[in-house]
Amino acid sequence: MYRIGEKPYPTKIMRDKLYELILRGERLDGRGPYQYRPLELKTAIIEKADGSAMVNLGGTKIIAGVKTALGQPYPDTPDQANIVVNAELLPLASSFFEPGPPDEKAIELARVVDRCIRESKMLELEKLVYIPGRSVLVIYIDVYVLDYDGNYFDPAVLASVAALATAKTPLYEVKNGEVVLNPDIRPSLPIRKVPVSVTIGLLGDKILVDPTSLEESAIDTSIVIGWSDEDEMAAIQKNLQGLIQLSVMDEIIRVSREKSIELRTKLMEAIGRVGAPL
């Protein structure tokens, strides 16, 4: 049930090798334990989308696109716009991914991205309501993994947030009780926060930020932490089997906070919001 494309068996030898390195503060690709791979971020690459972004994090390449449409709100949030996140691990991206409807990993990815955006209150969803309970903006975020070398969570969040933050969406207005399109303006979405996520691998009590695909196959477990801003987490997801020693949790939180600040700074630069008030 729901375990298509399982990760290969974490070999004991590779685990030992990695652990030995990490004890010396080293990694296979020359990075330090707390160091991210090179990050590239480009926005507005899909003219037909309202917003889009392509992120390369080392050898992992992810594209996200934002489209909007008019729709009905969910019954329990009549006064909020809807967010719909879909993620696909394209078979293009890795021999471990198979064609077909999203498997449990793709669904988890979509739901973690969704949580980072929704729980951080990134968007002022209440501003995108035209007729409460009846007509709101529906924001579709579609995330595709095009090339996969480990850690799809962080670049998926980066690409989604960048696509949202740079989107130009249709403007709807209420006229005589009807919702009509104003074709003259395409405003930005109302942004409140800029969430980012930080993925941390664990080898015993050792931390290893932004694991590669090879590292993922050997680490004990991993955890993704989404940060709304410098001080507040918005989402956590332990993923992969394996134990996290309680004694390491403080360090995990500390490191993830630090790295989230670093990522957010890069993201703000890339979307041209350096120092700009949100």
Partner: protein, 246 residues
């Protein structure tokens, strides 16, 4: 649309709507060996949350190409009955159920000694017949007990509980209303003897210090559940009643 005047969730003297203290969990009933056909089973009630779990295996992995030469594979399905929630859940697995099946399976993979059964499969089925908050952690708690009931070698039992942030306060085992209206919900599961976390999720906002407080509170609740599991294994069931109701 009516103006909704929402009542406070926590009173001035630190009590919750259902009368519990902030660090108090709901009444619990845990029972092992409740379903005859399965190799191991358990039933849990936490408040109105009611869940069955059953284990089949170890058995031959099927289809064959999924078999692992050096260990068992573990399958897990977390599923909710159509009538278990407000409204009616459509039949079929929702995206939420698929995600929870995955995180619960990964939690259990952390404690089962899979290497004991090469080329085998162990199936775990969790059936939520009533959902009233905390179903993934209660389901995991029951599944862990069902594994032990099936005699499958595990490193430790694991148990789980949610902690929440409600009106700025950290609370144990949030009710459905607290979950919906609160600021954060954090399901946690641990293998106590191993001093380790096996499941951890957060939906909602928390600072680092709130997180630490929440994790400690979860640990306390998990300790209680862990004891109930161990008792249930011996005499087949165990209950917890909050102090106020005794």
């Amino acid at each position: 649309m009516l103006e909704k005047v929402e009542h406070r969730l926590i009173t001035e003297d630190g009590r919750r709507i259902d009368g519990r203290a902030l660090d108090e969990m709901r009444p619990v009933r845990i029972e092992a060996g409740v379903l005859d056909r399965s190799d191991g089973s358990a039933y849990i009630e936490m408040g109105k949350t009611k869940i069955y779990a059953a284990v089949y295996g170890p058995k031959e992995a099927h289809p064959r190409h999924l078999a692992q030469p050096h260990k068992a594979i573990l399958n897990c399905r977390y599923h909710m009955a159509a009538f278990s929630v407000e409204g009616r859940k459509a039949p079929g697995m929702t995206r939420r159920e698929i995600e929870l099946s995955k995180v619960i399976r990964e939690a259990l993979e952390s404690i089962v000694i899979l290497e004991e059964f090469p080329r085998s499969a162990i199936d775990i089925f969790i059936e939520v017949i009533q959902a009233d908050a905390g179903t993934r952690t209660a389901g995991l708690t029951a599944a862990s007990l069902a594994l032990a009931d099936a005699g499958i070698p595990i490193l430790d039992l694991c148990a789980g509980i949610a902690v929440g942030k409600v009106e700025g306060r950290i609370v144990l085992d949030p009710s459905e209303e607290e979950d919906k209206r609160g600021e954060a919900d954090m399901p946690v599961a641990m293998a106590p003897r191993l001093g380790s976390i096996v499941l951890l999720q957060l939906n909602g906002r928390m600072t680092s210090s709130e997180f630490t407080e929440a994790l400690n509170l979860a640990k306390k609740g998990i300790g209680v559940l862990y004891e109930l599991q161990r008792k249930a294994l011996g005499k087949k069931f165990a209950t917890f009643t909050p102090a106020g109701e005794e």
